[in-house]
């Protein structure tokens, strides 16, 4: 019954989305205020219908309704409640419902918080969002209904892949989708601007909060995925350049570029066509990721089940949305006259450099991801592109990006001189040099990590130099505090995000210095690594809700004092006949002690011990970046005013 209601809610959402995609766009074209005003209530109605559908989906998973095919395939009564619920979006059908729900949330936010947008613009944005929703709802209803019944119902479900039963992974997809789908709003704004044939500073101001929110969520989503790989796969690695990881990195790179070029539109009315293109690209790359993961055209661990028919459906949707948007772009963009003159060395120039480097990185990642597939198609060649390619190709782009990142925010608009900027950054350069030298001194001739620590110090000190300069801390110390209070939150947010990247790079550099050791110990035996003494006390059995495990107790001591007691496990999931390793991690924030329990033989247990310096900083830095985005979003200029008129944007409506 509930399942049928959910199915019905999806159909209702489809009908509302259809109306939402036709009426406001038609109204905007004819200048009919009543038709344009229909967009907001339709979007809110569609949101309610999607909430009902998603609620029904959660319900059938929560009560383990085994007459629903999705539950049978992905759930089991003995699973903890969190994973029952997470299982509802841990599969293809359910994740599509979540995808559409988030799209509806974005539409609802534009409807609720965008009342002060010009009505034609709001109508067009809602219309485009409705159009996107129609396509994906049709996809769900036609090929991927999550509420399909099975008869007769089996006694219980098949269970969820144990590797996926993890709190990190439960929240990884929703965050990632908030990012992907958030770019649908900037896409809708770009299409609306092309339809109107007008891009101005106000447009830049309306788009930027959406780009910021989507970017912040995507940053968190990617970081959570990488963190999961680190602690769950039990390797000590955190990024594998897997095609599906790359698919999430591509919109992130384009979104980062968009975020920065929108500033130029807002402040200087320059780079308008380019920014519109980036807004289209960010969503196009999000959709490309969806296609790659779900169509089965690529060979990856993450990919959902192969199904060429679904693939064709998604490809048709992509052709309509991306092809249509690019065709519109080719038609309308040439008539948008370039405006806003600036010297190469200026804030604008710095942001252009940022865009060029980020887009080159995206091109490298896109090429490396798609090349094996196209080589296979065109030349029947089976090749694989791996980390060596990506690392070598990204590094030469990352170095100038990092160098410019600290200097960029210090450049004035229009025209700048390099010397005053360098004067304000000399101590950051000194710190970077010191970090590099210290790394050489402590860790020996390891060029990669040393460069990384230097870059990290440069970025963090550069962000600090930016703030110090803005509040005139040394020039007029007495007024510094009040100036700090008066400083726009966007400036704090930018500094935070830039420093956050520095923190992440420090973590990656630290991981370059990681050490590990493999030992077989009998209970009572001990070994040493990285100045710690590791003693295996015992190995025992434990029973969980849907698994049994062998659990080791290891005491870690340093200089005679106990640092921590760790419990790595090997879990055996009877239902899936799978074993997973649960690494034990003790973090001191400056390093991770990382312990994995291996096989046991002849009374001895194999232990793999890792010492990962700085590892937590990788994800801490990502959290800082997202937080920086959040601080920027809370800027009152973003919330309240727009050039010319008092207008609010959808910033406050960023789906939380």
């Amino acid at each position: 019954m509930i399942a049928e209601l959910g199915h019905f809610a999806l159909a209702l959402a489809m009908a509302l989305a259809l109306a939402q995609s036709v009426l406001p766009l038609w109204g905007a074209a004819r200048g009919d205020a009543r038709l344009m005003a229909s967009g907001a209530p339709l979007a809110l109605g569609m949101l309610l219908a999607c909430l009902a559908a998603f609620g029904a989906l959660l319900y059938v998973f929560a009560v383990n309704d085994t007459s629903v095919a999705g539950v049978v395939q992905n759930s089991h009564s003995a699973k903890p409640m969190l994973y029952k619920l997470a299982g509802s979006w841990g599969n293809h059908e359910g994740s599509m419902v979540l995808w559409v729900l988030i799209l509806a949330l974005c539409g609802g936010a534009v409807a609720a918080f965008g009342r002060r947008l010009p009505s034609a613009l709001q109508a067009r944005v809602l219309g485009v969002l409705g159009l996107v929703a129609v396509g994906f709802l049709a996809f769900i209803l036609a090929t991927s209904n999550p509420f399909n019944r099975v008869w007769p119902p089996p006694a219980d479900g098949n269970g969820l892949n144990p590797v996926l039963q993890d709190p990190g992974l439960a929240f990884h997809p929703p965050l990632l989708y908030l990012g992907y789908v958030g770019f649908a709003v900037t896409f809708a704004f770009a299409v609306a601007a092309l339809l109107e044939g007008r891009v101005d500073a106000a447009w830049g101001r309306w788009v930027r909060p959406w780009a910021l929110a989507a970017w912040a969520f995507l940053t968190l989503g990617i970081a959570l995925g990488s963190w999961w790989a680190y602690y769950e796969l039990g390797w000590g690695g955190y990024w594998f350049w897997d095609p599906v990881e790359n698919a999430s990195l591509l919109p992130w790179l384009a979104g980062t570029a968009l975020l920065h070029s929108a500033i130029v539109v807002e402040k200087r009315e320059a780079l308008k066509v380019w920014t519109v293109l980036l807004a289209l690209l960010a969503f196009a790359l999000s959709l490309l990721g969806t296609f790659l993961v779900r169509s089965g055209v690529l060979n990856s661990v993450h990919a959902f089940a192969n199904d060429p028919e679904r693939g064709v459906f998604i490809l048709v949707l992509l052709a309509i949305y991306i092809g249509g948007a690019f065709a519109l772009f080719a038609w309308r963009a040439p008539s948008m006259a370039p405006t806003g003159v600036f010297a190469p060395l200026s804030r604008e120039g710095g942001l252009v450099l940022n865009n060029l480097l980020l887009c080159s990185m995206a091109a490298v990642v896109l090429t490396g991801t798609l090349w094996p597939m196209f080589a296979d198609l065109l030349f029947q060649q089976k090749i694989s592109v791996g980390p060596p390619f990506f690392n070598t190709a990204i590094l030469p782009l990352a170095v100038p990006l990092v160098l410019a990142m600290a200097a960029g925010p210090l450049l004035p608009w229009k025209r700048a001189k390099l010397w005053p900027v360098l004067q304000r950054l000399w101590w950051a350069a000194l710190l970077a040099g010191a970090a590099l030298a210290l790394c050489f001194f402590l860790a020996g001739a390891r060029i990669g990590p040393a460069l990384g620590f230097g870059a990290a110090a440069w970025l963090i000190a550069g962000a600090a130099a930016d703030i110090i300069d803005r509040i005139a801390l040394f020039r007029r110390p007495s007024a510094a505090l009040s100036r700090a209070r008066g400083l726009p939150r966007a400036a704090w947010g930018a500094a935070m995000a830039h420093a956050g990247l520095g923190v992440s790079i420090a973590g990656m550099a630290g991981m370059g210095l990681a050490t590990d050791k493999l030992v077989a110990l009998a209970p009572g035996g001990s070994t040493t690594l990285a100045g710690y003494e590791w003693r295996l006390d015992q190995v025992g059995d434990v029973v969980g809700p849907n698994w049994t495990a062998r659990r080791a107790t290891v005491t870690v001591r340093r200089d005679g004092a106990t640092v921590t007691i760790m419990h790595p496990e090997r879990r055996f999931f009877a239902l899936a006949r799978m074993t997973t390793t649960e690494a034990a991690i003790h973090t001191t924030w400056l390093s991770d002690l990382y312990l994995v329990l291996g096989e046991e033989e002849g009374g001895r247990a194999v232990l793999r011990i890792h010492h990962n310096p700085m590892a937590p900083w990788i994800w801490l830095g990502a959290a800082f970046m997202a937080l920086g985005g959040g601080i920027s979003l809370s800027d009152r200029r973003v919330r309240v005013s727009a050039p010319g008129a008092k207008r609010a944007t959808g910033a406050a409506g960023a789906p939380a």
């Binding site: 796969l233 055209v297 060979n299 196209f374 065109l378 089976k382 899936a576 194999v606």
Partner: protein, 208 residues
């Protein structure tokens, strides 16, 4: 994106009005580039999907040209640390039953996912022969100590030559050979529990 499309329509398409017509023409051509790229990419993806339907394109590797033939000749050095015998194609003649040949590496994530299935097969008495692909001996030994050793024999293919002869797409990849040493089946990608039940068990029965 392999083919950057040649979508440069002749510059200077007559455009009534503005004095900067040639400049506008170039702009127009440039603005068509994203559409051209997207169309080329879309056509490529469509060809892939069509190919997946008809069997001419398979992301997990086309059904190997080697199916129905004997394994190409090779002789690989052993992994000393694991204490396993070396592996050469001569070991694939006159077998007591069907065997699996598994290409793997310690750096490959899907290899961890398939490992329990290989362990299970080996416990059940199915002979699993390993080829360690582009890997450091120490890392490979670590992997086996940690996850267990399903292999009856193990050859080290550090340069990846033998993998080329077999037409390996990427690791992990698994072949099933009948007792006469003829390759009967190939699977590119991890041997998941489903692959084990739906493909490997029936094949083992058929070629037993």
């Amino acid at each position: 994106m392999s083919d950057i499309p040649d979508t440069t329509p002749k510059a200077g398409t007559p455009e009534p009005g503005p004095a900067s017509a040639p400049g506008l023409g170039r702009r127009r051509a440039l603005m068509l580039a994203p559409l051209g790229l997207a169309v080329a990419g879309g056509a490529g993806f469509y060809a892939m999907l069509r190919g997946m339907g008809t069997g001419t394109y398979d992301p997990r590797g086309v059904p190997s040209a080697l199916v129905g033939r004997a394994a190409p000749p090779f002789a690989l050095p052993p992994l000393e640390a694991a204490g396993l015998p070396a592996f050469a194609n001569t070991d694939l003649a006159a077998l007591p039953g069907p065997v699996l040949v598994n290409f793997w590496a310690s750096w490959c994530v899907p290899c961890i996912i398939e490992h329990p299935q290989l362990m299970q097969l080996s416990r059940e008495g199915v002979k699993v022969l390993g080829i360690n692909y582009k890997d450091k001996p120490a890392d490979a030994a670590t992997f086996l100590t940690r996850h267990g050793n399903p292999f009856a024999r193990l050859g080290r293919d550090e340069p990846g030559r033998v993998a080329i002869d077999w037409g390996v797409y990427g690791v992990p990849e698994t072949y099933l050979l009948d007792r006469g040493g003829i390759i009967r089946w190939r699977w590119a990608g991890p041997v998941t529990p489903e692959v084990l039940e739906q493909d490997i068990r029936p094949l083992l029965k058929r070629h037993a």
